[in-house]
């Protein structure tokens, strides 16, 4: 059965679509603040458990802050950028996890920046927060696509109907 590349393609499309919707929601919150305040408030509320949403640390769109701070925006935009780059780097062959050294390397800027700001050693400008988030976020789809691919493969294997005479 030819399931490998098709499953990878499907997984990639799911992650791409999910990432784009996620990012669209970040911009929809300020965009709908005047026209649909209830929907806008719901989007802000949905992201509030995963982001402090402090206005001074957020980018503004149409006069209102985005649904997440600059660093989180960087992570999510980096995620979508990494997803778009994925086929050029991995093609649609069987996905595999990045090396630990790569993860450590891309985590260093965001780790140092977050720790430094939290400890009061320095206050990073929002552009630097965005950049650190972009770097870290760009590697994340390589993890999610691999994991989701495994899950989809598992479930498609469990629920696939066997044709007569098929042993496995």
């Amino acid at each position: 059965m030819k399931k490998g590349p098709n499953t990878v393609l499907m997984t990639w499309l799911l992650v791409l679509l999910g990432g784009l919707l996620w990012n669209a929601a970040l911009f929809a919150a300020p965009l709908l603040r005047q026209e649909a305040p209830v929907v806008s408030a719901m989007i802000y509320a949905a992201f509030s458990p995963v982001c402090h949403q402090i206005p001074e640390r957020s980018f503004f769109f149409r006069g209102f802050p985005l649904a997440v701070c600059g660093r989180c925006l960087g992570i999510y935009l980096g995620f979508s950028a990494g997803t778009i780059l994925y086929p050029f780097l991995h093609r649609f062959s069987r996905p595999f996890l990045p090396a630990t050294s790569i993860f450590v390397l891309v985590s260093l800027p965001i780790g140092l920046d977050t720790a430094g700001n939290f400890l009061g050693l320095w206050t990073s400008p929002i552009g630097l927060r965005l950049a650190a988030g972009l770097v870290w976020g760009s590697v994340l789809p390589f993890y999610l696509i691999t994991g989701l691919y495994e899950v989809l493969r598992l479930f498609s294997g469990n629920f696939r109907l066997k044709s007569p005479g098929q042993t496995n």
Partner: protein, 162 residues
């Protein structure tokens, strides 16, 4: 997923509880999604610790998503007693926002007063459902990262391939 692998529920609940408590405390939420991803990494670590065989990234995704869902439940429960504090924080944030924003929507103070009075059951479950979806996605990511860091087992000097 595999007979040799331990149950995912306990690691997911522990990781989720840690993430949910930490992300529910107003001051500590300055770490954004780190707590959810960190809690899922913890769940993945606990699963790997008890597993005699290597974990796949699929195992990590499932245990991480479960940890994310339990974190959403814990976060919501922690949020009930802290609701008044959260509204006060939100009010300060909205006041600061009004200095930054060009024009605030009319009646935003009343919206805060409505939410300040308490949370309805319907709103609670709706918020929980949305949080669970967001937390599960981030948790899955953390779980996969966790398996990449802790999921491989070495048997008799040789590394078992996934």
């Amino acid at each position: 997923m595999n007979d040799h692998k331990p149950n995912m529920l306990a690691p997911a609940l522990i990781g989720g509880a840690v993430a949910g408590v930490l992300s529910g405390i107003p001051f500590l939420n300055c770490f954004c999604c780190l707590w959810i991803i960190g809690g899922a990494v913890l769940a993945s670590y606990l699963l790997a610790k008890d597993s005699p065989v290597s974990l796949t990234s699929g195992d990590g995704a499932i245990v991480g998503a479960l940890a994310g869902i339990s974190a959403a439940v814990v976060d919501s429960l922690v949020g009930i007693p802290l609701h008044g504090l959260n509204v006060a924080v939100m009010r300060r944030m909205m006041e600061r926002l009004s200095e930054f924003a060009d024009e605030m929507p009319s009646g935003w103070e009343n919206w805060l007063d409505r939410t300040g009075g308490g949370v309805s059951i319907a709103m609670f479950f709706m918020g929980l459902f949305i949080s669970a979806a967001v937390f599960a996605a981030l948790g899955a990511l953390g779980g996969i990262i966790g398996t990449s860091l802790f999921g491989k087992k070495k048997a008799q000097g040789a590394e078992i391939a996934h």
